[in-house]
């Protein structure tokens, strides 16, 4: 109540990541002219939107003290389903999209069932699922990249003008998704229950939350979000690519953790995840614009990731 706005901002877990992001932007803006432009920022958002959307689902699951290694694979499968059904099986594109979303949700549901019904650790469930879905993708697609997509499937890759800058509908959708989940987690009972579950499943159970149902719901919803990521991916690349998403599981976890969410569950904000995803995107873009060779980009990214979180920690410590 006494907490004034700036004070509040400092004590939210997003402040640190945000500071790191701003610092990184300032640095690159000083070092290269091309960085601080509308089109370049539009580009960065396009580049992080797929991993960012995956990371929304990942955030939900990590908040429940779980982890999802299968999200990239599920997305790849979803993309193949959408494109193959639309192109090869001649299904109306919208139905193909619905089918893709359903399939992704279905894998999420299976994850959730295995986690709750047999009490398997999420790490193992989703690791197994990663292998299964990966194999299914390659078996179903027969390794063929699906091309010549109907326009509905690539609509999200189209742009509209904001001032001088072209922004894709996909970028917009991603931002809206982040806002939607920030709302759901922060301002609905369901969100509170997710946090309570992550704090302690036993406490959640004792306070009358149906923890199994909630967990299954979270995994299924995450699967659905991966389906949206699949659509974003398809619209961005213009093809259905069975090889997509192979490192996206770790990348999405990275975004979540960079965004200040605890891997032990119950603490964190989805908006932090957006910031985390942007940090990675800004580093990659900025270093490339500066002309840093690939291998040194890797080196510097490694250091910067650590630094970004260190900024966070140190800022919190000062606040103590």
């Amino acid at each position: 109540m006494e907490a004034t706005l700036p004070r509040r901002l400092i004590s939210t877990p997003v402040a640190g990541p945000l500071a790191a992001l701003v610092l990184a932007c300032a640095f690159f803006a000083l070092r290269t002219d091309q960085f601080l432009t509308g089109p370049n920022f539009s580009l960065i958002i396009q580049q992080v939107m797929v991993v960012g959307t995956l990371a929304i689902g990942q955030t939900l699951i990590i908040l429940t003290a779980g982890i999802d290694l299968s999200n990239g694979a599920i997305m790849a499968f979803g993309g193949i389903v959408m494109t193959k059904l639309a192109v090869d099986s001649g299904l109306p594109p919208v139905l193909a999209i619905v089918a893709g979303l359903a399939v992704c949700s279905g894998f999420g549901l299976v994850n959730g069932l295995l986690v709750t019904r047999i009490s398997l650790p999420p790490f193992i469930v989703t690791l197994g699922m990663l292998n299964v879905v990966f194999a299914l993708t390659h078996i179903y697609s027969n390794e063929q990249t699906v091309t010549d997509l109907p326009p509905v499937l690539t609509f999200l890759g189209q742009t509209f003008q904001v001032g001088q800058t072209n922004v894709t509908y996909g970028s917009l959708l991603t931002i809206l998704l982040f806002l939607l989940f920030a709302y759901l987690l922060g301002s609905t009972a369901w969100g509170r229950h997710v946090y309570a579950l992550g704090n302690s499943p036993e406490v959640a159970r004792l306070t009358g939350i149906r923890t199994r149902r909630l967990t299954i719901g979270v995994y299924t919803l995450a699967g659905f979000v991966y389906g949206i990521a699949a659509l974003l991916l398809v619209s961005r690349t213009g093809v259905g690519d069975p090889q997509a998403g192979q490192t996206d599981n770790l990348d999405s976890i990275t975004a979540v953790v960079l965004g200040g969410t605890s891997l032990f569950g119950g603490r964190g904000l989805v908006i932090g995840t957006l910031v985390g995803a942007l940090i990675v995107g800004v580093f990659r873009n900025g270093l490339q614009l500066m002309g840093v060779p690939s291998i040194y980009q890797t080196l510097i990214t490694g250091i910067l990731v650590i630094l970004a979180v260190a900024v966070d920690q140190l800022s919190r410590r000062r606040n103590r």
Binding site: Q34, H138, T159, A244, Q246, Q288, L289, S294
Partner: protein, 310 residues
Amino acid sequence: GGGGGGGQSSSATPKVGLITKTETNPFFVKMKEGAQKSAQANGMELMTAAGKFDGDNASQITAIENMVAAGVKGILITPSDTKAIVPAIKKARDAGVLVIALDTPTEPQDATDALFATDNLKAGELIGQYAKAAMAGKPAKIATLDLAPGITVGQLRHDGFLKGYGIAEGDPSVVCSQDTRGDQAKGQTAMENCLQKAPDINLVYTINEPAALGAYTALKAKGREKDVLIVSVDGGCTGTKAVKSGEIAATSQQYPLKMAEDGVKAVSEFAKTGKKTSGYTDTGVTLITDKSVSGVEAKDTAFGLANCWG
């Protein structure tokens, strides 16, 4: 003691193993299909294995060992790490197994009994020469979308391209170089960033066709797809179609089916007669383009589509 004769398989059909770099590249899938057909035709049983990523030596070693334990007569391998695989290959050969490299030579090349492969340096050279001629003296601003550190095919093609174009490593006309791991999405991101850095890029070399298509998508988003030349390597059916529709200007086509068929045949021969093939068989590489330039030999996409894989 457990059952019969240890490593010695008593089963009637002789076995042949195929170990590819990855599971995820259509090139290798085609190779597997070719090997499967050829194995059937020659009355052999095919075993397959793959690394988890391009460069995954450990999985390939494990696969060699397990195949030897399973009693294969011969192993066909596309080495991920051309030097690091050599000791494991030696052990297999010492155990009496015929080992043939496909697609990528080992270092030294005679670490395997034989090699059936594209000449990757030449594949790069062809598109380099093509690009030089197609640019027709225009000053070039080049982006190279490479594979990943330390994988020989990537290096060979990159070097070949520069050689064919007539420039050396470090030439100022190369304004942007990025690793793509041969992945379409990563190729797109790399191209976007290169364009942000140097908007006037007009020539793009790509390690393979997925990377090329990613680059095309990025260029198209900028409205630059018409005035930028993309050259690539592979000759897969998806890629060749892209050449036909003009998205890629030219590509060096390789022939994985041939590599696999010839490889299995050689092992079958060895199983029947004990005779080992040896030496390098160039499985050939053809430049495919519909906008041919003078001085560089090329075939059109009709030929390309008739001979493409994947």
